[in-house]
């Protein structure tokens, strides 16, 4: 875990929240560096939503402290002017149009209702592709359109910290790609994005750092690349099963654990070697010294999904 730095956009220390007998968040410490796109992962019921709601002041923590943008949440509610958020499904007034929903958000935020703001509202609707539907009642909107409008509202105050909880839920593939592009653009623009999502490839693609929560506790935190390399191994392909069998014996004798690589064709001609990618040359030398010559040797990085499942299943055990 990274230590607290002066530039952290989110600093959480010892966060705890209980609902009756259920300890939803159990002493969570979290530091989100300013400017990072930070993935916040966890299975259902892991305490993600509770954490996000505590961060945003929607629910009270039983213990712990929260600092956002360098200011304490408990004392300084004015800091929310720099924070945008989309928590779960966007909550909208179904009897109002998209534009009126945005206007109400702007008025509630104290942004006024002048011509300048009207331009900003139009731009916000443009950004999420809802310009044409601005005057339509939200009641008739699809889930994806509602989600886009929720994102437009979250971006209305041009936040420096954006908290997004499942922002692509309900979106079609094109919508997912659009939102991903918006998040990436915000990240490039220096906005800190705290992203909670179940779409792991999206998180893997977007996020600089990732935290994994399980049963209210942090089970992993770090740079995305570091997390993905923690269980990295090597895949070695040979010309045929006989060579692979001989190589397995050589490597086992040299102290490495091997197993068949099921995805390599023809069947039986590939090996997975339990060695980090940096040990590739050493494996190669060992094989060559025993007259085994691999056709291909490549690092085998686990997907974020595999890391996530391993971390959360491990904690269950």
């Amino acid at each position: 875990m990274s230590g607290a730095a002066a530039s952290d956009a989110i600093e959480v220390v010892g966060l705890r929240r209980r609902f009756g007998s259920l300890l939803a968040v159990d002493g969570l410490d979290l530091n989100v560096p300013t400017g990072a796109i930070y993935g916040f992962l966890g299975p259902n019921g892991s305490g993600k939503s509770t954490t996000i709601r505590c961060l945003l002041g929607l629910i009270r923590a039983d213990a712990g402290s929260i600092r956002l943008l360098g200011r304490p949440l408990a004392k300084d509610r004015a800091l929310f002017a720099g924070i945008g958020a989309l928590v779960e499904r966007p909550a909208l007034y179904p009897n109002l149009s998209a534009l009126d929903n945005l206007r109400i958000a702007a008025l509630t935020a104290g942004l006024g209702d002048g011509p300048l703001l009207r331009g900003r509202l139009a731009a916000a609707l443009d950004q999420v592709g809802l310009r044409e539907a601005a005057g339509r009642g939200v009641r008739g909107f699809s889930t994806g359109m509602r989600q886009r409008l929720g994102i437009a509202i979250a971006l209305l105050r041009e936040p420096t910290l954006l908290v997004l909880d499942e922002p692509t839920e309900g979106l079609d593939p094109a919508g997912v790609a659009d939102v991903r592009a918006v998040i990436a653009g915000l990240g490039r623009g220096g906005v800190t994005v705290f992203l909670s999502s179940h779409v792991l490839p999206e998180v893997e693609q977007l996020c600089d750092r990732i935290a994994v929560l399980n049963k209210g506790r942090l089970v992993a935190e770090g740079a995305t690349a570091d997390l993905l390399s923690r269980d990295a191994r090597l895949t070695v392909r040979f010309d045929g099963p006989a060579e692979a069998e001989r190589a397995a014996a050589v490597l086992e004798a040299a102290g490495w654990t091997t197993e068949p690589a099921p995805e390599v064709a023809p069947p039986g001609s590939g090996l997975i070697v339990a060695a980090p990618p940096e040990a590739g040359s050493q494996v190669s030398r060992t094989l060559a010294a025993n007259d085994c010559y691999p056709a291909e040797l490549s690092p085998r990085r686990p997907s974020l999904e595999a890391v996530f499942l391993e971390l959360t299943r491990g904690a269950d055990a």
């Binding site: 709601r53 945003l56 002041g57 929607l58 629910i59 009270r60 509610r77 929310f80 958020a85 928590v87 499904r89 966007p90 909550a91 909208l92 007034y93 179904p94 009897n95 109002l96 009126d100 206007r103 109400i104 958000a105 008025l107 509630t108 935020a109 104290g110 942004l111 006024g112 209702d113 509202i153």
Partner: protein, 293 residues
């Protein structure tokens, strides 16, 4: 706060139940007035048409038409319509806050405005203003309806001062504001429009039942229980205003002094204290609530 008020007005404009409520006030007040005025117009009710009606009975019938004679007609519509306005405003206030919880928009409001109590203050102000507008509509109806429903025969023309009309309207508005406060408090507490309305009705029925309980009469200390009750004080305020500003009763009738009667300034102070509590309570509840919607 101005922006919050503007946002609330924008929301309110698009609420169908607002227009249904305003329509209900108009229809019920007009219907009630027309029916009562037509009853009062029956000059020979119960008397055979071929027999002369004694002058004292004619006088009595004429007095029945007094409440529908301008300008007393204004006092009549304000008094009879005030209850309808209070009920409609309780419904609108509860529905308005309750749907924020139902739709989950309370979450959006809390995210944008962490000082969420201001949102409740703004809503209370808008509801109170709307209540004032509806009481104003009652005054207009009281002015227009005597023209639309002319009286049979000559009614008296009791003198009613502008002060009496203003005081009557103010009392009705205070009642409406108190009812709005109760509705918003219970809605914030239960996070539901329907439960908010049900609890408000229960509150006022319980208030009325408790105030009339003779058990309080057994001691001077216990007497303060009904004396401090909101409904009792609002009823007493209406009587006080009627006595102070209303047309003098020809028979010299003065409402009896009961053990619950308090000096008018003390009664006003108790109502003011209730209004302050009812303004603060929903704000506190929403401010401290966990928003799980």
């Amino acid at each position: 706060m101005i922006d919050l008020l503007r946002a609330d007005l924008l929301r309110l404009r698009h609420r169908g139940d607002l227009w249904v409520g305003v329509g209900a006030v108009l229809v019920l007040v007009v219907l009630g007035y027309v029916t009562s005025a037509n009853n009062a117009n029956q000059v020979n009710f119960g008397f055979p048409s071929d027999q002369p009606i004694p002058p004292d009975v004619l006088e009595q019938f004429a007095r029945q038409r007094d409440p529908y004679t301008f300008p007393l007609s204004i006092v009549t519509t304000v008094q009879t319509g005030g209850g309808i306005v209070a009920a409609v405003m309780a419904f609108i206030a509860a529905a308005w806050l309750g749907t924020e919880f139902l739709w989950g928009t309370i979450r959006q409001l809390a995210l944008i405005r962490p000082d969420r109590w201001r949102v409740v203050v703004s809503r209370t102000i808008v509801c109170a203003l709307l209540g004032a507008v509806l009481v104003g509509v009652l005054i207009v109806l009281g002015t227009v309806l005597p023209v639309v429903v002319p009286l049979a025969g000559s009614g008296h023309a009791p003198t009613v001062t502008v002060g009496a009309i203003a005081a009557g309207a103010a009392v009705q508005w205070v009642t409406v504001v108190a009812v709005i406060g109760v509705a918003l408090t219970f809605t914030a507490l239960t996070r539901s429009s329907s439960l908010g309305i049900v609890f408000s009705v229960v509150f006022f029925i319980a208030d009325s039942a408790l105030a009339s309980n003779p058990a309080w009469l057994t001691s001077e200390v216990l007497l303060w229980v009904p004396r401090l009750m909101l409904g009792e004080r609002l009823r007493a305020l209406q009587t006080d205003v009627q006595v102070a500003f209303g047309p003098a009763d020809p028979n010299g009738y003065v409402p009896p002094v009961t053990p619950l009667t308090l000096a008018a300034p003390l009664g006003l102070a108790i109502i003011a204290a209730w209004l302050v509590v009812l303004a603060i309570l929903p704000c506190l509840i929403v401010r401290r609530a966990d928003i799980r919607e």
